[in-house]
Subunit: 339 residues, 4 copies
């Protein structure tokens, strides 16, 4: 069955498997003191800046939690959108694994803005209240929308002016950078971000995410926090190899651009037939369908209902989504929406 449910449903890029195979020779020191991981460190500096240090971890939940652990004192919380993955889909990991309180803000489009963050800037210095310590934004957002470079910079400036740090959940950072036509560094170090969860899995790796530390004062803590957070790979070379190849040449951009283009193609094809609920800026399309239409469509295609109350559904495209798949799906959508 063709799948528009998640970019996680897609297979891995052939390049990722080839990189793993290439790394599978002989004995190397475990836990990261290996040549592959050393090469990855160079790629990280190329993309994210000379001061950037990357720490591979296994998945996105972990990238977020480990990064935030490095950024926060125990009484500080994270200002984030109510719809943030951190708040909705991490199974309570921020709270249970790191004791972190999320200071959520409702947003219309999944995007924070300084005036929205401002609402949580109350009772500063009051020991009864978790103090805002980090602003966390998702780029691209859970709703497939994008922050501009300027919007990110404004949030970073706002945070820094108040002694806070900026965290970027970049589970789909590649999609955002590709869509905006900028580099990964422009979208992170360039805007003043302090810590970034750079996602590899959704864009085409098997299982590899990278915590990128841009504030050098936070690096020393990371090896301990990663290990303690159960995210230190013993055979690190195999995680690093995936990330290395993704950051070599323009693989990350090619994979992400294709997924973005397929979402665009899908949105264009169904526009006028269904209500599209969010700007289609990265690799997802949100639309409203009747329950009957959804049910009929799900017999042939796999996708998720996003909001049971409104009938909103989410369609995700991946690095391997074919034009023909999109066209067949769009045709089916138009058909069920019209009947």
């Amino acid at each position: 069955m063709r799948d528009f449910a998640s970019d996680n449903s897609a297979p891995a890029l052939p390049e990722a498997l080839e990189a793993i195979a290439a790394a599978n020779t002989g004995h190397v020191v475990s836990y990261g003191a290996d040549p592959v991981t050393a090469r990855l460190a160079e790629r990280v500096r190329e993309h994210f800046g000379a001061g950037a240090v990357g720490f591979p971890v296994f998945n996105g939940t972990a990238a977020n939690v480990v990064g935030l652990r490095a950024m926060l004192r125990p009484w500080q919380g994270v200002v984030c959108a109510e719809s943030a993955h951190l708040n909705v889909d991490e199974g309570g990991a921020p709270e249970a694994m790191a004791g972190i309180k999320l200071l959520t803000v409702p947003t219309p489009d999944g995007k924070l803005a300084t005036e929205l963050v401002e609402r949580r800037m109350t009772r500063i210095g009051d020991e009864h209240v978790v103090q805002p310590g980090v602003v966390s934004i998702t780029q691209s957002t859970e709703l497939g929308t994008l922050y501009t470079v300027e919007e990110m910079a404004a949030l970073a400036d706002y945070a820094h002016a108040r002694g806070m740090l900026l965290h970027v959940d970049g589970s789909r950072l590649a999609n955002a950078a590709a869509a905006l036509g900028v580099g990964l560094g422009e979208l992170t170090a360039g805007v003043g971000a302090d810590v970034v969860s750079f996602g590899g899995t959704k864009v085409g790796l098997l299982a590899a995410e990278l915590v990128v530390i841009l504030d050098p004062s936070l690096s020393d803590a990371m090896p301990y926090l990663r290990k303690q957070s159960m995210q230190l790979a013993s055979k690190m070379r195999f995680v690093s190899a995936q990330l290395e190849v993704l950051l070599t040449g323009d693989l990350w951009r090619r994979a992400a651009s294709h997924a973005n283009a397929m979402a665009r193609r899908l949105a264009d094809a169904v526009a006028g037939h269904v209500t599209i609920t969010h700007a289609v800026e990265a690799n997802s399309v949100f639309a409203i369908l009747s329950p009957e239409a959804t049910a009929e469509l799900q017999q042939e295609f796999h996708f998720y209902v996003w909001d049971e109350h409104t009938g909103e559904v989410r369609w995700m495209c991946a690095w391997d989504t074919a034009e023909a798949d999109v066209d067949a799906f769009a045709a089916a959508i138009v058909r069920v929406a019209s009947s």
Copy 2:
């Protein structure tokens, strides 16, 4: 440089890479509802019994912590050997991630026994004291020694008779089962274990461990605990594929037996020249070297000093350790030990 430092220094079994490649076709549902993971579930039942349920995770620290979270109430602790990986090498994950107190017992050989556990069975019912809830043993142990089937069963019976559960850290369970000439099920469900961390990485996978739940009352909690503990792989098929192939045919036994045999070969070759400090029962050899001998040897071979005070060193063999490597290493050891 030839490596006797860790079985984690070894590459991955070619079969593991082939299994990953075979799984890399088309879209499947993420997070475990895929055909590869379904096939793994069958292999788990074959090996560990009809009631066994396996939950793949990324690494051994996580397998231990997630499994123990399912076994314990907040005021219960884990009786384990002072030398247990859980106590020494998990970066404080049991305490920091799960709030677990370890009730450690010094052991001569890394092995618990009922009379050693008994020492921690004090002040039962006293709210001031963390109550023993789980006995955790490592098979094979950090010191390369083995529990017999009878010894394991005695510990399980002891625990169950006191309302406790038995946890097996089986990071090297394959080595133990191969050495004892028994199946994985005989060594776990067969002895009455309740939860097992079955290790795949050290025996030849890239990054895949399995929490095997043998006490069915603990299964329901596992999906939530695994996700919350940051161990749910989105593209689960790639983790499952590794474990599936390891549990298919006798791959696990072949890989483990070879590593064990190489340790035996090494021990036999150096016996009489150096003092071997622990029974060589699995895939490691512990011996005493002078600091000078160690330094000289480390110029050519990579291995770790285990105890700086005594000069004890650890030599590990892996699935790919060659007889020629062992022989060259043994010759070098004999040479430096004699000089």
Copy 3:
């Protein structure tokens, strides 16, 4: 300076000090196996029902956290009002001390209702999402409003029908029961609550709160959880003595009724001169003042601004608030509001 800032600003009831003095004779067993605590247990059964078991703790934050720890599995969260003390004023203790995620709901008046709870009843059984395990309501609420007995019962029924439990943050339960003209048991066991934080301090004790367990299956865990949560008093008799006297005769009702009456008197005196923002049902009055009026009034009277954006202020009355204090304060309010 006269104080309408908090019922915590008030002194202790003379009866509480007398009870402490009376308990201060000779040696008794520490940690709760003393005669005073035994008598308290009888009072608890009288008020809360034959199956009720009370566990004294030091403060309200702890009563809530320890009680909730007994009610929740690690992946379950607490549905509560966004304005709940638990969410706003506990310094992140639920998250940091107990790993609990709060599933908050905006409310107009600080009160949950089944249709509000319903909004958080999504993705049940989905391991990615913290599962609702407890509904927590505050009686009287942070906004000085009350749940009727019927409203509480409806929430309890709703929770139980879905396998959840009902927690009552009764930091001001005495005020609620006094205002509703019912007993403490009618408002807790009577409505089907499972665990109650019964507040002693705000109504007139020095420092004593009581976790009342009404669901007998939760009692066994409590001694361990209380100790581990750093809430076990060694000289328990002095905490128990305060709670015993409060629950003896009608002391709790007299103290709470007086505070309620003073809030009513204040509200009546200023009605028409200022906008009162919430129904005055217990011992607090919320009103809107201009920043200038607030500033002028605070030169003579101590009280807090509740919402800096709207100018809302909170005035609390306590067991010792005198009619003359209220009248003087009301006159000053009328004066500044009119100028």
Copy 4:
């Protein structure tokens, strides 16, 4: 029944109740911004030095945990004696509430020494291992023994030279200072301690302990950590009043000296009749009794068996232990020991 079980079995000093009564007048700001707490701050500076800041909390478990939370990063642990209260009697609060791993060391007499701490100074900088961050000693120890001023200073110097901090669990610091004939400051700031749990309850208060911060860089975190750790008293004046009176004049010394003298009197009276197992340096006596002698004695006197295996018992004296009580108890001991 006369009680030699615990100094917690004793009542409160009359001065403590008088101080509470004196504080019970009118309204004051809650949570510590009151005149009594201000006066306590002065007493703290008098006793512990001009830079000392005290944070009252409810009990000793909390004093230890809150203080240690201020001293540690998440990957650092606490080197302490295996017999430390922290390890044995806190119900797992360090682990469960603060994620702290205790790096325990067996000791013959409950006392650490630099050479014992040295044993835990291994694998520094290794991310797999919890790093020693704090040395925690108990003064007087759980075994009734004392550190000399020089021994404490040596441990502080040792810790500081390695980037660690010194924590003093001073649950019975008054007994130690009284026995050594020094001031509280000499025994804490004077030796280079960084954080001290100063105990009030065991020496005669109702429920009041004080976290004394001597390293000024740790003060800012404390208000937040105390609140989050559920230890912020709303009616703080009543906790502060107890500590204030204890630190006024020589009340703490009188109370502690008396308890010490009674232990001395008891030890002297039974010497030669029973084996006393630890030096009697503060307010406890440890001795060996046969099970029969213990059973007979416990029919008349309340005390605890310390070690079921050896028959060791503990006898504690308190501020109110009368000479006649000691003499009667000693006579009974001599009688049962001789029979």
